[in-house]
Amino acid sequence: MSTTEKDLREHFNQKYSSFRKTLNGSQSPKIDELREHAINALNQNGFPLTRDEEYKYTPITRALLKSFKFTEEHPDEITMVPPFGEHLISGLNGYILVFWNGKLVFNSGDTPKNLSISPLQDLSKEQQERLSQYLGKLVNYQLDAYAALNTALLNQGSVITLKEGTNLDQPVVIYHLTDASQGPVYTQTRHLILAEKNAKATVIEIYKNLSEDHQGFQNVASEIYLEDAAQLDLFKIQTDTAGALLVDNTNIEQKDNSQVRCHTITTTGDIIRNNLNISVKGQNCESHMNGLYLVNGTSLIDNHTLVDHRMPNSYSNELYKGIVDDTATGVFNGKIYVQPDAQKTNAFQSNKNILLSDKATMNTKPQLEIWANDVKCSHGATTGQLDAEQVFYLRSRGLDEKQATGLLLYAFATEFLEQVSLPVLNEYLERIIADRLYQLKS
């Protein structure tokens, strides 16, 4: 029996109904209302197919219909804490949260006074009520069906609050682990980060797909609020995600003088879609988007980014680089909006790609929409092969072809690391990039 998009919606509607019963009115009516709005939006808009402009190159819904046997979905109770330790990055210390198939299984706790990390599902009705002014305000469930699904089933996740003036000594590290060894699994988590005035922190999200026995589908969404002069370094590490279907929706709002640096690296996965949306609602803000994808096989990696400049005098800079091999596909869509009030905006965007095979594909689309008249904006996109002249130069010095191309690819890729200041993470990613390039054929 073939399944259709309607069947998929049906499945998640059932999931939604039974989930709501378990809540049994224990939750804030406002949050409950949000869920209701979200499921309605999902039902109205449906899951995106490739005729949907935003998912034109990314058939994730079709992949779900084909390979995610949701009728056989494994019950998601976790009776005992699974052995997650081996999946943590060694040496990467911090305030650690581990989600296993969407359930919080570890919280290192012991946070300093100026940091609070609360499991989303443990919040009291009153706390939920208070946070309802943030939840669902940035994640646009009308525009993205997967964001709607995440919002409808909103339950597990975290609320991370950085108090005014905090300068966090260690990063917050969130592991999103999907284990489909026992059957197909749908996992989702929801995160809310509130950085108060002058708070400064690093948050590292690590996505892993632990088993390819069955299909794992991971759907993560987060809302991040940066108050005046807050600074956040945000990492998305998708390097152990072979076989994964993954959608990430990250939505950031910036107030005056705040700075955000987002670093997204992807090296594996069946289909991975990252939506990174930054809404610049303050002046003198900085928004940096740093991306790298190194994919081969039949992987598809899609990065959709949006910077929405709504106020004057801010700066955004985006550099996404990719190496695509075999029959893999890369997708980059970079939107920059400069609203009428956002005079004196400086916005830059660059997407550079190297294709290593004749059958590799890259779809890149810069999309600048500018309504203000006194701005500096630029964008550029290149897709090509390694420069033959550079290869010849290195060979003429005694390096063989493999060494020459390896060195050039390494130099191309490691520009990403220039913005990664945490040494343990820099070393970890450097090793991953080197290993990955070794696997990609030269």
Binding site: F392, Y393, L394, R397, A411
Partner: protein
């Protein structure tokens, strides 16, 4: 050391070299001069192994091997070096970084042990003085944002580190002011000995005041039409290439 016989080559079906004969022995400096489009750089590129040229006839022997059978890196490991006319910019790769791999490839080929980091750095320091190049340049991305003079000095610096048996300098003088020219020439001269050879490809006589050639060859229309000693270069400077053109046309 190098024997080029009746070398003919073309690019995209267009014939560029029309039968070159050239013999270079150890300890010699040869200058190849000629007007624009005469085939000077093509000859240099073919010697180094650039693939965009098609050799249609003739042979090149280098240290008793068929040079045309060797890949560019094998030629480099055998001791051939090309100082590029237009050194390529390579963002993200520093000179020190790739040169260490290059040195050790060449050493491995010669049956020598790889240099460790300390010995390599010592070698680098020593050679840096030769061409008055400083640390900061070597730790920057290769040729990225270098001035014309810095690029050419970096080429000679690499030559100093790799110690080739045959160095081909392809218009290394172009774009250099007189001070930079002297630095480059001094670098080359201090590397000369009885076991190696240099081929200087140039348009002007100027460089040859500083790197004094044993032989001067004039290339015209893909052929060596005149050979002589260093006085030939002076004569060319005085009379211009038209003198060669007229002679060459008379001969045909």
């Amino acid at each position: 050391m190098l024997k080029v016989e009746n070398l003919k080559a073309s690019v995209e079906g267009k014939s560029i070299l029309n039968g070159i004969d050239l013999t270079v022995n150890a300890g010699e400096v040869h200058a190849i001069m000629g007007p624009n489009g005469s085939g000077k750089s093509t000859l240099a590129s073919i010697l180094a192994g650039r693939e965009s040229y098609e050799v249609t006839d003739g042979s090149i022997t280098f240290l008793n091997q068929d040079l045309l059978e060797l890949a560019p890196e094998e030629r480099a490991r055998e001791g051939l070096f090309l100082a590029f006319q237009y050194p390529v910019e390579i963002p993200g790769v520093t000179t020190t970084n790739f040169l260490k791999t290059a040195v050790n490839q060449i050493r491995e080929h010669r049956g020598q042990e790889a240099l460790d980091a300390v010995t390599f750095l010592k070698l680098i320091k020593e050679k840096m003085k030769l061409v008055k190049i400083d640390d900061s340049l070597l730790s920057r991305s290769l040729n990225d944002g270098f001035s014309g003079g810095e690029k050419k000095r970096n080429e000679i610096f690499q030559m100093a580190v790799l110690e080739p048996k045959l160095a081909i300098l392809d218009e290394t003088d172009s774009g250099l002011d007189i001070d930079a020219l002297k630095v480059v020439a001094n670098g080359v001269n201090s590397l000369r000995n009885k076991d190696n050879a240099v081929v200087v490809v140039t348009h002007y006589q100027r460089l040859l005041d500083y790197i004094v050639p044993d032989f001067v060859h004039v290339l015209y229309n893909g052929k060596i039409v005149k050979s002589g000693d260093k006085d030939l270069a002076l004569k060319l400077e005085a009379k211009g290439y038209d003198w060669i053109r007229e002679n060459a046309e008379l001969a045909t």
